[in-house]
Amino acid sequence: MSHITPIAFAIITALTLVSAIAAMSLRHLVHCALCLAVTLAGIAALYLQLGAAFVGWAQILVYIGAVAILIVFAILLTRSSEAEPRPILSPYWGVGIAIAVLVFGVLAKAIFSSSLAGRLPPEKADPTVREIGNQLMTGYVLPLEVIGLLLTAAAIGAVIIAMKDSTSGRLASPPIVPEPAQKNARPETPPAH
């Protein structure tokens, strides 16, 4: 068993990291969304490996089932599913990469200088869903209610934000006509810089 775990960890880690890098660097947005789904599945596999079965399945249901699908819908609705011909990175991409490398360096230094670094897992039984449910309904009932309220508010808010204005929608459509003129005017400014 102890021989299988490091190999499984290595495979899951490689898959997760490669797909995360692909999700952040591919040109085609639909491919990015698919790579994100693979990354989230890898993280769910790590949760299962760590003995948090409930969180692992919740991760698969919520992230792969809902968030990844939502992102695919957003990609299709904003018609960015075609590969972008322009450079996909912002002009300051070097600074962004440097900041990310710096953050990773600080985190790695903190991890390796910590006394927790080599700690091995203690023997303990995996929590059952019954225990988690008991905790949720007793000690964590107030956060649970607040999360329920938050999710309701977020769902209603998302619908209202994304909804077409039914009353002012037709009134608001004529002002969109000047927009292409602005759009045509804007690409001329970057070469001037």
Partner: protein, 108 residues
């Protein structure tokens, strides 16, 4: 118990730090608003992985705080993704682009 793993804790912490750095690099460098949101989701997942790893390596056998935190964090991340993508769709309808470099109305 599914797996009696004997990997030291810092394996998971380093993986999580790498995922966080990848997400941060993507969120800072991509021009597409949807991919910035994807980068933020990656960073949230890296933090959740840290919570689960610390929970698993915690000597207290009865503590479920790590699991509870991740459950609530997943719920908040789902709400964040829904509102964020709704905002992106709204912005697309207004500007006809989701390229972040073109949304410079507030630029001084």
């Amino acid at each position: 118990m599914i797996s009696q793993d004997h990997l030291p804790l810092h394996y998971y912490l380093i993986l999580s730090a790498l995922l966080f750095a990848v997400g941060l690099a993507g969120a800072l460098t991509r021009r597409n608003a949807i991919l910035v949101l994807v980068g933020i989701e990656l960073m949230l997942n890296a933090a959740n992985l840290n919570f689960i790893a610390f929970w698993r390596y915690n000597p207290n056998p009865d503590s479920l705080i790590g699991i509870m935190f991740v459950i609530f964090s997943i719920a908040v991340a789902a709400a964040e993704a829904a509102v964020g993508l709704a905002l992106i769709i709204r912005i697309y309808r207004h500007y006809h682009t989701i390229n972040l470099d073109k949304m410079d109305s507030l630029k001084g």
